[in-house]
Amino acid sequence: MKNSRKAGIFDYDWISVLLFNLLVSIGIISIYSATYNETQTHILQSFYGKQALWFAFSYVLIIFISFLSLKSIKNNASLFYLIGLILLILVLIVGANINGNKSWFRFGSFSIQPAEFVKLLTVLGLAKLLTEPEFKITRYKNLLQATALILAPVFLILLQPDLGSAIIFLSLFLVFYRDGLSIVYYLLSFLIATLFITTIYFGQTKILISVMAIFIIVNLMTYVKFKKIYWLQTLFILSLSIITILGTNFVFHNILKPHQRNRIEIVLGKKKDDKGTGYNLKQALIAIGSGGLHGKGLLKGSQTKGDYIPEQHTDWILTVIGEQWGFFGTLTVVLLYTFLLIRLVFLAERQKQKFSKILGYGLIAILFAHYALNMLMVLGLFPTIGIPLPFLSYGGSSLWAFTLMLFIFLKFDAHRIEDW
């Protein structure tokens, strides 16, 4: 059935819009309680007031997006990507130095984090590259091109340095998978990551011996079953494993910085550090854990009110939700994200155009990485890295960047059957 009417703002996927509004609202309430202060005078000087203002302004962005021409977005995608890289170079030159990181442009009392917006710009560039005629992700040359496209901003962001954002960009490799790249790459990456962590935890020799043992057993079993030994595959995986195991100590001790080593060791439980790096995590677990089933109620959280967790209104906002609304609260947030992500997968899948499909998966990858890594970090299952919880954490840059990303995709989705 062909729709002759051009799609408008009201044709945006209402489920996603609803989830977006719910998450931002929960965020504002949480920021309100995280920064509540009885002597607060002006609403617009408060964090929740500002976040509400930025939420309101994000609707200005949404309306602005609705006037954008999809065609011009697609055609200028490479330019957007380049602008992104230029922004990242500029911030290294003229950016404000905050806590040793050059991640912010400062305009008077107002500051913007370009990396948040570069995520969208990179996704646009990636979509443009992957939709080039003759482009095939399974072709090594093309894979290399696409990889370089992702690693360029990663490299610039590492110079700031902002490890968290850099890791987020790596999630864009997930898009390749949907575009046809074999799962083997991901399994090998997973193997390397697993070996890296287990080697840190158990030590080099133990892992080396176990890996050898596993290979001998697996080969014997395959031989018994198939009467054949896969020499090439075995050799490849084995050498990759051994390089990883032997390289782990070098990477861990020579490339990672002491505070990064600390954070990994704290998550692995190899180190207890309740005063320094581990302090945040310990207090976060106390806040969340003490929330119980239904939480302590709005403004009743002793951890939250006592300001025990620095950055509890930004990266650690889940602690506020966990303490005040308990398991019900955190489960609600988890479910909202899960619904939103799965909904976005459905939307991406129904795209007629590859460009918007890649755009959709780019959004899913980045959103997913933020959601998963932030929560795993706050829950002590991933080393502490500074990344916000999308839509919930305090911060204009993050909120607007995600709003732009989400609504540009939703606009593409609304116009999916049109020929733009």
Binding site: L174, Y177, R178, G180, I183, Q283, L285, I286, A287, I288, G289, S290, G291, G292, L293, S302, Q303, K305, G306, D307, Y308, G322, E323, G326, F327, T330, L331, V334, L335, Y337, T338, L341, I342, V345, A348, E349, Y361, I364, F368, Y371, A372, M375, L376, L379, L381
Partner: protein, 623 residues
Amino acid sequence: MNQKALGIIILILITSFIITGRLFYLQILDKKYKDLALKNAVKKEYIIPERGYIYDRHHKLLVSNLPVYDVMAIPKQIKAFDTIEFLKYTGIDKETLIKALKKAQKYSRNKASLIIPKLYKNEVALLQEKIYKFPGFFIQRRAIRQYHTQSAANVLGFIREVNEKELKKDPFYMPGDLIGKAGVEKSYEKVLRGKKGVKYFLTDKFNRKISSYQNGKYDTLAEVGKDLDISIDIDLQSFGDSLMQGKRGAIIAIEPQSGEILALVTAPSFPPAFLSGRNSSKNFNKLFRDKVDNPLLDRGLQGEYPPGSPFKMLNGLIGLQEGVIQPGTAFVCNHGFNYGRHNHMFCHCGANGRKVYLPWAIEKSCNTYFSKSYLNILNNYPTPAEGLDVWHNYLARFGLGQYLHTDLPVGSKGFIPDSKFYDRYYGKGRWAASYTISNGIGQGEVLTTPIQLANVAAAIANRGYYFTPHIIKKIDGSQKAIDTFYLKPKQTVIDQKYYEQIIQGMAAVYKNGTAKYSRLNDIELCGKTGTSENKTRIDGKIVKLPDHSIFMAFGPRNKPQIAVTVFVENGGYGATVAAPIATLMIEKYLRGKITRTDLLNRVLNTDLSEIYQIKAPKNNEKQ
């Protein structure tokens, strides 16, 4: 759906599942975080109630509280300040200030330390006005004990900061709390201290208060400590102090019909305020180290002395009750008598070979009469061991040889030998009654504390029973809360009629006997002098020291209102020092004034310090 899209959905679901599982574990399964959060954020603050006041038996205020001000400082917050001005306001010298600040710095930079302790209101007034000029310094109010008497330090006791042991023993206390360490402050600590109030606060990570916890739902109010009325008559007590000037020993006065202690004088002593106020620690050490005068020893409760002749009253009573002597019983006394082949018991009663009967034997303190009575008590049984144990049990009924269980925190048992003691010394069955003959006259192995002997006097005054001596009269204005142990009479199992015979003798002591020079004209008193021998070792040689002067008395004879025992170390004959002191105490209590000014002057002019110098030559050299 596309298989790869499904793969991505599965990845999302697995991740959410892991997160949910972790949340479930943290928030529902693991219960420890609730406590940790409370421990983190909820802080208790105790409100220390005002300590109860202490009054004497006529409700005269003895001890109250005085606010004092500590100058505190938090080193981190101190900024450069005008030292000269600071010293001017506080009146301390520069070295003291520098020393205190260094010490504070060493203790903690963030926590408050004491810089100048216990300034009085007028001393701190100037600084209080100008404290804003000295950032990092603040003034903290607290209370110390204020004493309205110079006397009774041993009874009132003192308070100090709790030590580690007390902290562990009673969770009531927090470091820095004050606790009674002696006297009624100690024994009635739980009554005096009141009940602490608790306030719960939510605090932030810097330990700053944010708000009250749950609107004060769990807060409790402090309860002010209860006031005590103690049985001491403070005028009598301080009169006793003045009588004991220049002497060592004790005066105990008890109201026989209640067991209330009217005066508990120990000498040498110190004013109670000595252990309160700014120099209390220094002063305490001074007293503690003084092993010559030993002022922290309560001689009335802890001093163990041979009781001497007053003990004869007990042997008389037991002999009468046992039937081994009767009013008609007479013993011949010829400057004493021989017992065994080579042993002679001396006597100075002056009977010169005549027969001695009971009242007269007391009047003249006849050693022959009472040592023979004692021997008869023991020999009335198949073995002296059995007889001695019967004798021992009678004495135990008077509270001798064991703790009296007064309501003061210190005491001594004294000593009354039993058969086991001599069995151990001579061998079982290898001793005779005569071996222990000195017990008959209150010498030998027998030891009593002054309060035990005063209690004996009270029992005799009551003709057969006593109330355990105690210091408490009222708690919070009422007698209800007093331990009933102190309100129940204890019987001595000796018939009243035998007491009358002993009392007749004791009255004669005042009329014609050893204390006749101390008698009061219109009040009939009963008493008994005592003189107990004592020795000490000086440079390896045993030196005989002047005798202890002892007197036991009560009066008036028919309606006793006061029983007194006086011990004066090395005071000589009981009649010379102890008897006048006891009589003066009785007169002071009964009449409120002294008519025997001659006695008073004699006592006041008796100074034994020279004798005490011999006793402790070693210590004197050291000083």
